[in-house]
Subunit: 329 residues, 2 copies
Amino acid sequence: MGLSTSAISKALNDDSRISEKTKKEVRQVAKKLNYQPNHLASALRSGKSRLVGVIIPRNNSNFFSSVLENIEEVLNAKGYNIIITQSNESFEKECKCIESLLFTQVDGIIASMANETTDLSYYEKIKAKEIPLVLFDRGELDLKVDYVGIDDYETSFKIIDHLVAQGCSRIAHLGGYDNTRVYGNRIRGYVDALEKRGLPVDETIISKSTLRLEDGRRIMEKLLKLPNRPDAIYAASDFAALGALQVLNEHGIKVPEDMALVGFSNEPFTSYLSPSISTVNQNSEQIGKLAAEAFLNRIENPIEEGAINKIIIETELLVRASSSKNSTE
Amino acid sequence: MGLSTSAISKALNDDSRISEKTKKEVRQVAKKLNYQPNHLASALRSGKSRLVGVIIPRNNSNFFSSVLENIEEVLNAKGYNIIITQSNESFEKECKCIESLLFTQVDGIIASMANETTDLSYYEKIKAKEIPLVLFDRGELDLKVDYVGIDDYETSFKIIDHLVAQGCSRIAHLGGYDNTRVYGNRIRGYVDALEKRGLPVDETIISKSTLRLEDGRRIMEKLLKLPNRPDAIYAASDFAALGALQVLNEHGIKVPEDMALVGFSNEPFTSYLSPSISTVNQNSEQIGKLAAEAFLNRIENPIEEGAINKIIIETELLVRASSSKNSTE
DNA sequence: TATCTTTGCTATAACGATGTAGCAAATGTA
DNA sequence: TACATTTGCTACATCGTTATAGCAAAGATA
């Protein structure tokens, strides 16, 4: 029918300056020809790729899977696709992820930092590009960007208070390395909570590790060799808690009677074990949704210095068998 | 210094028709200016986005996480980024994923089909675009595309033979819906293996479900009410096996002595439980890697009709406590 | 010196969509 | 009828990169 390409473009985009009749015709022909607009071309033209990069340390925990699922859901609904990259907890790989995402011209990045990362220059690169950057879980105050996470410090208080209520007074901590903010906060919360509740802080029952299953096992074995064993374990990860529980079971130590146990993150397996492990629900769905929404919000309201959003989500202590001494509870 | 853009492009791409001296200068200036080529433009120009779409049913199992991780690793190394979408086992959502990936101009798609999917027209759309399509785990012979997976039929034989060797003779099957090819094959393998070993096939102890934890529980409760209980359970998913184990534990039925149990997929939690659950290692790392390599291969050697690759990966039966009656084994 | 080849660059068009300007025809207003 | 406005389209430039053609200068060959 001999229409110009721009007329067709306008017709398909429902521009007011094209007659209804022409629009209908164009739409019909487009459907007949199975026309699909080339996203790359419009992305190049508009400068908007409608792609969002996501960087996670590793996709092997329920926490990150769940966050991802929710980020995807929220952003898909708004016409964005997400590109997922994994840093494998490595600073070097994380830098590559950032390079690669920026190269792909993503419209923004949602990230949880690798444990190793202390040099923030790559994250500054993202800021320099003036595309939204949202951090979740593993954040960094110095970056001054939007953040979604939980209050790890306060959650430690919840855990200590619960264990104290169960009659525990010598509570060990299986902690992460405290250069990762979340683990540092859990440790600080643990220490402060003990002090506030009038309990002694004993460095010999505080450990720092990568918090994997094997770490939990190794550290638990050590704790059992102490002359004065703890009567409770607060592990900063469910995997470490699992390792500890295995060792306790193997040694015939009753949980929670002889030793109470609390983990962190609400990995599904914690509820499958016997005894089931008490843990902390971080509301990962909420974290994912809110991180995605924080991004969308920034797209609409580009950064004004100082107007950083820091969203703290309430955690929930899930008291299960491993820390329930009173069956009435 | 007044070079043309094309000269600069050539210099950065190491074209032979640019002098070394100029190349060096250009590279220096590029570094100084922090120049980053616009991927969208070169993608538009070349028709290659260097993006690969991945569709998985759901990111909540170790199997898919592990496949994803390996796809990403292989493709990243070749300069591709992956866009991950989840169908949530819904046909409708899967169609949206495909639409969205094609719209984004991915260079290929690697997918595992949703349970619901029987209408293949959307997958035909991918083929029509003449971009590589690789299926893994959940495939469809009719599509005539590259496929990477395991031999579910033969794996059922391995499981039945193992259980028979343990002295079991009445083996129940917790199966998936057989419109999903993998579950259908597991059921057929189960039935044929029983017949080949001279055991009766009893429909009352064969169930079909979505194989979630609750399904395992529900079906196990039913099985326990039968006048002649089975002496072994072959569950087509670890989650169903877990549900069954919980019910068995609750009823004080000894596993494996009174009832042996085998799951499928090697979810990490199977090794955490007591008794640990025997299961099947599908070599998900291999599946991921080979699926990615099948894609790369297709990029280099575009489809010639009839030259379809079907890669079948060996499975490994992990015999654990839940099916080890002889402690000598 | 005249001609051919090679080297190293510039100029141009194109990938496909779309915002802006422009222009003719239709319609409205005086 | 003369002029202004609106309608509905076309023409064109542009996003950033790169393949192709072309062209001048340098070098090689006779």
